[in-house]
């Protein structure tokens, strides 16, 4: 079809499923006062879409598309023009949206505050979706060596990184106990925050940090990769769309076996409370707890109980299980830790059906492929949906790399802010909700398994 361009981004229209004669899709190629925008054909069946191919580095990409659902139009998978889920009440607005695509094409610049192991999994995603300026450490040479080995910019000291004006966002995978201080400094220097999980400090401390971000118009996002897969987004839509009715019960687990006794007894960050205060509850427990809250649409539980807990020789949680009470007599159970075989799963029981995923964290199905946690991996391509009678179907979803998806979502948020928008507050809310619930479970664990109410 025809081709055209925004302010800076070149694009053409690749596909259009229907149009009204007075509002043809080619309207999207012009950006004058007279532009009327695209409208779908009257009485068509929804959804309808117009797909845009954008020119990047001399090649055409076709991932941007405009989707029209009834009277709404939505821009998805775009190059950063709009935040996830933004909706417009008339298809007439679409020309304006396409206009701003151009201004958004510049890459977001990220700095990394640590040479931690997680960087090996995340770095390829950062490179894919952003420009990596460099890596900071307490030791400039160590940072530089890391950058040389991994081809990721310039090594520098922490404070040097914070002072750089060409860094939009900081990726902060420092140990949980050390992270908040660096985050506070980064916020004060006007940096967007990409923080690893679990959260450090008390829920109030975290709440303060998040409030600062919001006040300064900075985006916050934690490193929960599975939120960002296409599978998660499809299930999220199913849950919020109401076709399955209310969520009644969720079970979620993330466990794997410590590789050896030294690892189990404090030899790893997860099993040493000086580095990870909540131990394996903090590390592995983040997944089932976040999955439970996500499944319940971020409704908070009324109370939680850590029913079972095992400490290692250095007094750190290596295994725990618990129960959550949700409003309306709805329930959830979780377990996590490094003393049992590898399980990474949730089951969501709704009024009208069930949803099951058994590769929550890594997307590698039940293959036993541990490398999916350590290097880039494209997966999360299916889930199981059961009907009320207990008949299952395996639902296929487009496979993706969680990390790339996270980085894309974060870049979109930051670009939208640069274009005059506000931070997407859904992401910091998720971090705070999981941290509140996790802190309550930890309090229960430390007090013999009492029920602990969760502050809303």
């Amino acid at each position: 079809m025809a081709s055209g361009g925004g302010t800076r981004l070149k694009y053409r229209i690749v596909k259009c499923t229907s149009e009204e004669p007075d509002y043809p899709v080619t309207e999207l190629l012009s950006h004058s006062q007279q532009t009327k925008g695209w409208q779908t054909a009257r009485f068509c069946e929804f959804p309808q879409e117009a797909r845009l191919g954008a020119l990047r580095g001399g090649s055409w990409f076709g991932s941007e598309f405009l989707r029209a659902d009834a009277c709404f139009a939505r821009l998805s998978s775009c190059d950063g023009a709009l935040r996830r889920g933004s909706e417009y009440q008339s298809a007439c607005f679409i020309s304006a949206i396409v206009c701003c695509l151009g201004a958004m094409s510049e890459k977001v610049k990220i700095g990394i505050l640590s040479t931690a192991a997680i960087v090996g999994k995340v770095l390829p995603g950062l490179k894919h979706g952003m420009e990596v300026v460099g890596v900071a450490s307490r030791d400039r040479q160590k940072a530089q060596d890391f950058c040389t080995t991994h081809d990721c910019g310039v090594g520098m000291l922490y404070d040097e990184m914070l002072e750089r004006d060409d860094v939009d966002v900081l990726y902060i995978p420092l140990p949980t106990g050390l992270r908040n201080e660096k985050i506070a400094k980064a916020i004060s220097r006007g940096k967007h925050i990409y923080s690893e999980k679990p959260m450090g400090g008390t829920a109030s401390e975290l709440s303060e940090l998040l409030k600062l971000c919001e006040e300064k118009g900075l985006q916050w996002m934690d490193g929960t990769m599975w939120y960002h897969s296409l599978r998660t987004k499809e299930i999220e839509k199913k849950l919020s769309g109401g076709e399955l009715g209310q969520v009644l019960r969720v079970s979620a687990s993330f466990t794997f076996m410590a590789p050896d006794e030294a690892w189990l007894q404090g030899g790893n960050g997860r099993t040493d409370k000086s580095r990870e205060p909540m131990g394996c509850l903090g590390d592995q427990g983040w997944y089932p707890l976040s999955a439970i809250l996500w499944a319940f649409g971020w409704t908070m539980p009324e109370k939680v109980m850590c029913t079972h807990v095992t400490l290692n020789k250095v007094d750190t949680i290596v295994q725990c299980a618990g129960t959550l009470w949700f409003p309306g007599n709805r329930s959830a159970v979780f377990d996590c830790g490094c003393t049992s075989p590898h399980r990474s799963q949730y089951e969501i029981v709704c009024e009208k059906g069930t949803l099951r995923v058994d590769d929550l964290v890594g997307g590698q199905q039940r293959t036993g492929n541990f490398a999916a946690y350590e290097v880039p991996f494209v997966g999360s391509a299916e889930y199981i949906q059961g009907d009320v009678m207990g008949k299952d179907q395996v639902v296929q979803v487009e496979a993706c790399d969680h990390v790339n998806m996270l980085v894309d979502d974060l870049a979109s948020c930051i670009k939208a802010i640069k274009a005059g928008g506000k931070p997407d507050l859904d992401w910091p809310r998720r971090s705070l909700s999981v941290h509140k619930v996790m802190s309550a479970v930890f309090e229960s664990a430390q007090n013999g398994g009492i029920a602990v109410e969760v502050a809303n």
Copy 2:
């Protein structure tokens, strides 16, 4: 191979995997003072087996086999000669075992105390493995009509049934609240007991009934069909054999949706506490609770908690969930009821792997086939075993009809008693263990979800 005969049962040897020249398998065909019996070849790899084909009604069946494991020989799937799992310390005993096959070939005679709906599922199994003498009811004509319709003997009054000398065992599917009185009478009349579940009365009352059975040399078995499938027996062997290490955590569920509001609000036996005192905890909860105790090798939990419970308009439990604490900080969770979609499953997490079944009660896989609960069904043909790294394999098992298997197991017990043996006390122990745990969960449910200790 050669053919021969016991006292009354005709059999031949169909297959033999190895033999010592001085102890050939044909020894099994003679029963004199000089008979030496069969021995496997020296230095063979175990197991070895000799399979016997028995003549019944003019046809040869091949299900009996003698299995030799190292220095043990064992007679399995036999026509009632020996109880499940009996072991003999020398292969030389085998000729004597085969001898007694003959005496055991007469069919066990059963009477049915009720025309309840469950009979439609169970009756074909009773006919398959026993001789059905008749059905008793408060109303002789109703009983006779049932017998005529279902071709199952003679209709009679309860007391008439109890007085009959040609009835070995009574199947008692009466409502839970009415059952114990009839059971007590049946025991006093020297009848073996096949009782539907859940159990009625207190744990002490049940304990008294079971003690009476034992004193009178009577077999007790409850109607938990899934215990008897080949799948269950294979998994049982895996769990007790130690290859998976200790059981750490079990999750089990049995739920299905009430067909309509009237059913939910007391219109069914399960939802009306005057008929089923523990409601859906009693009815559906029996499955996850029995699966949990079975998985833990009948180790009793230290305490239990009913964390969530929903009552209907007639004050009967229609949904509940809970947690169990097992020795060694090991855990289990369950949920049951008629307010959510059909799920019938357990997950057993062991030190060295996981086991998962998602058609616990009916064996129909995740097909949504509800008829499997109402008519004869051949299934339970697979389960999923995961290794410590989280790699799953689907394990295939020979399909079977749970009910036939239960009736065969019960008939074997009764025949063994008739041949001079004692009751198999494993079955009453299971009934009592589940009833104790269920009663504790019920106590918790009635007291706001407090933790309740379980008497051992």
